[in-house]
Symmetry: C2
Subunit: 642 residues, 2 copies
Amino acid sequence: MKNRLHTIPLKAVTVRDHFWTERIALLAREVIPYQWDALNDNIAGAEPSHAVENLRIAAGKSDGRFQGMVFQDSDVAKWIEAASYSLIAHPNPGLEAVIDELVELIAAAQQSDGYLNTYYTVAEPDQRWKNFSFGHELYSAGHLAEAAVAYYQATGKRKLLDRVCRAIDYIDSVIGPEASKLKAYCGHPEIELALVKLYRATGEQRYLRLCQYFVDERGQQPCFLEAEPAFGNGTPDPWFAADYHQAHAPVREQQAADGHAVRAMYLYAGMADLALETGDPGLIAALRRLWENVTGRRMYITGAIGSQAHGERFTFDYDLPNDTAYAETCAAIGLIFWAGRMLLLEPDRRYADVLERALYNGVLSGISLDGRKYFYVNPLEVQPEAAARRYDLRHVRPERQQWFGCACCPPNIARLVTSLGQYLYSLDDQTLYVHLYVGSQIRVALNGTPVGLELRTRYPWEEQAVLEVEPEQPAEFAIALRIPGWCRHFEIRLNGQPLENPPLEKGYLKLSRRWTRGDRIELRLAMPVELIRAHPRVREDAGKVAIQRGPIVYCLEEVDNGGRLWDVALPEGAQLSCEFSEELGGMVAITGQALRSDTEHWGEALYRPAGGGSQAAPIRAVPYCLWGNRRPGEMTVWIAQK
Amino acid sequence: MKNRLHTIPLKAVTVRDHFWTERIALLAREVIPYQWDALNDNIAGAEPSHAVENLRIAAGKSDGRFQGMVFQDSDVAKWIEAASYSLIAHPNPGLEAVIDELVELIAAAQQSDGYLNTYYTVAEPDQRWKNFSFGHELYSAGHLAEAAVAYYQATGKRKLLDRVCRAIDYIDSVIGPEASKLKAYCGHPEIELALVKLYRATGEQRYLRLCQYFVDERGQQPCFLEAEPAFGNGTPDPWFAADYHQAHAPVREQQAADGHAVRAMYLYAGMADLALETGDPGLIAALRRLWENVTGRRMYITGAIGSQAHGERFTFDYDLPNDTAYAETCAAIGLIFWAGRMLLLEPDRRYADVLERALYNGVLSGISLDGRKYFYVNPLEVQPEAAARRYDLRHVRPERQQWFGCACCPPNIARLVTSLGQYLYSLDDQTLYVHLYVGSQIRVALNGTPVGLELRTRYPWEEQAVLEVEPEQPAEFAIALRIPGWCRHFEIRLNGQPLENPPLEKGYLKLSRRWTRGDRIELRLAMPVELIRAHPRVREDAGKVAIQRGPIVYCLEEVDNGGRLWDVALPEGAQLSCEFSEELGGMVAITGQALRSDTEHWGEALYRPAGGGSQAAPIRAVPYCLWGNRRPGEMTVWIAQK
């Protein structure tokens, strides 16, 4: 590895964290088996998946017809990926045997030419490569490649990797810049980042070149997607034209994040991977521009993105409705993928800030505390009665669901959380960057010296973090600690000695010195309860504040506060206090006094002269990511301010 | 006429009002000819109507195929109705000749059995009476009946009336309670109220009985509409099932206003007409219950109703979104139809208050000052940039349009405004009720004595109204003046003498005495600028106020206030002042100081800790009904309150 930033292999990171360890263990213990049941249609009352059955049919081991989404294979692939990561921390021969058997099934479903896709094998064998807009063939292949790399890294087993390489080799023989090949790319990006993973795992340059081709080809005009039958027959819906697929302009020329939010995130992550390998300045400039646009103008305070259900897409700057939000769990996960890669391009806390925001808020909200129920859509305001408005709110489920016909999100959360270790740190030869404060132990090499490091904290509930540094022998290197953007006051001690006004470099406090065994860093990141406002151009948040403490965004739930949450107003200077509670798996709850309308004396009038008055009402806010784990009811993140 | 409340025939009311006279004259001079051009597809750049051409085709005078909505005939009928009313105040032999010629065309389009409907004559001759849900056959027949009665009353000409009676007689022979007839009613109510008009004009009891049948049959279960092919083929959309047509329960058992708002209004108006003729207590109880529901829980402050575009319908109590509002002009007009009839059932100012609210706000907003552009949808908040959100806002046009493919609204406004005279007063043998303060002269009989009355006022801009009473000879009768619900302080003088604390009876100040020539009433209705709040259960108006003065609801427009209107906040105790302006045809504008965010110092952050501060900003509010007559831009009725 040349001296550039890279992550720590998952095997070299042990998460030992009061917040995360049980969540990861729950995934290994409960969620991955549960999701396997879901993929095998064994969850009573849940929407069936048919994903494994599709593989059986394609493998000739079962009769029947293909069912589910055209990209149903990708749910299996994401599950393999999650299960593989979980095997690293939680070895499980039984689970490994299940995957081995599944790999055999996948191998049997592969066609003699290498093609590997159950939909086009079973349902439409003569329609390969004819619907790049919505066919998801390359997308599904990309997920299989990610699965194969993960399983190989977790177990050393090559069978799936070899089969995937055959599948990708076949794709490489069909699509590409050469005159004899199809000029195309996938409507849904994904294979780009997967090809870089596969390149890194195998060293095969052709995979990197194919990624480069897909990235360079996307958005060349005229856009071939618009000429596909998916648009050609009948009335084309302009919402699903080029920009939906980020194909409205060559990627290096794109100015704003347009179109389908998950597509956008997977594309940008793939572009960042390519830039990491090539250093392409045009690509890096585009990524920075798109980053500014997404995180500066089109992102919810929870890190959720994609504000409109129709097209599951970005709309326009500062358009962030809270109740009709789409805010797909997968899009926030994709934002984390992208942010993690941007952190490797340049260590700048703004990337880690967003990564953390999405992780602790807009992603974790997608899964229930017991791991068995999921939000696909993560609005910031829910009024269950408004489900009656099935026109603009039909996509909103006021309660998490057991599974989905289109079940991209549940296994996506699983693979993200089980691979959390890779987002905590990055390093080059000389410097270890600490991005997230998650209790963990790592072993890395810095300046040629093996170094152990342990981070202990009760983040995000408490302010302290302790890092113990254990180089095998004394060595010169740097430890760069992220001071989060939300933190306005911090204290740091090195071996008990406070460091006064240490300089920050793009948000990182860099300690460069000769480290010896037993060196100890104590960090305190002040976490007062804060009221946050949105930019005045955000119409839907005007006059409102959100409660935030540390990286955690809070919400009001009906179960704590009664209904009609829109009528709760925080007076100027409201005193809010926080206390750890064992409820909801352990969390800090925030309480205080707010004002509510005096409805008792309002009467029946629908409209009447202002006045009327308000009365004090206690409020209790809980972390947004934990909402919907008790009784169904209203929820709101943004609260009126008097 | 027995001693019950009735309206004054239009011929006995002369409107002489600084606010209305020019509007009515504009309709006669410009709008009715413009709409005739529209119906004849002679407006460049407007959506074509094809309505007159359809009649020509049905009459065998032109070739071609039917185009437009299945109920396109009703646009012609509403235009005839409007043109007829306008002939009363503005005799116009040229216009009358145009109508005469049109009547000939209609007569020629009538089939030998009396059937009269261009769609089912030209396009689907074998499909008569097979799609009551959406076919609109009875609806269109009802509009023709209203047109025929209006033209007959304006001109004494019977030809259209006779043709319509033949058409209705034919319907009566096909549909009804007898075993040999179809059991049905129209998906879109309208014929019910039209049949009562026709009954009153002709004295033919069968028309009243047919109305009674339609009212009684509606909502009988199982609902025959749900068995129609419109629902039977493919996937029925539950949104268009029985309740969309107010057919989910017998009308006397309906608890809340459900379904399509215009359908509901026309039905309730027809029910009220029937109740006026029959005194049916079950019908009256249902009407009162539905009135409370609509006006107490489901009506915008502008008098607009039908909050959801999908289904153009009511949703649930207090669900009144401002930006996605449907608020169809026709629905507010329908509310006026209903309110006017309720006023005849019982003189209670709550009916007149709503009638006035809808008239001066949610209806007048539907037409531009020049009469040539129309809003179909009347939201209370518009952000033109959000037109990019074509999913939930695609029905919202930020500018009035020249015409519509479905052009129910423009001729509906025309027939309402040209018949305004009938809503100003009602009377029985002993009492004249003054409902609306519109400058006017009437001649009526009270206690057997012919009485002239002149009302002079500069309402709604000024507080004073003067009524001069001129009985032919001294006579005992009562004049009951509405003290509007919005008015919290009034003064009244009779022949110069103040009356102290006169009692009100359901909001009417009743002066019972012996009146003589030259008696003069002076009334002052205090019109301070008021800030109005919505009921705390209205989520979308939480923390906001609307500016109202007298019956006029105000709004902020970007042309006066700059953009980002959601960022304008009125401080507690804001001083607002009002001044008459010649702008916008003459109106009272309201000005004052508000607060806006200090965006200059905000920076680029999307979210940051509250504080930041605000700065004073002048605001100028104009009547909502006049918005959109200058530059396109943002608009809002509800304004944040600090």
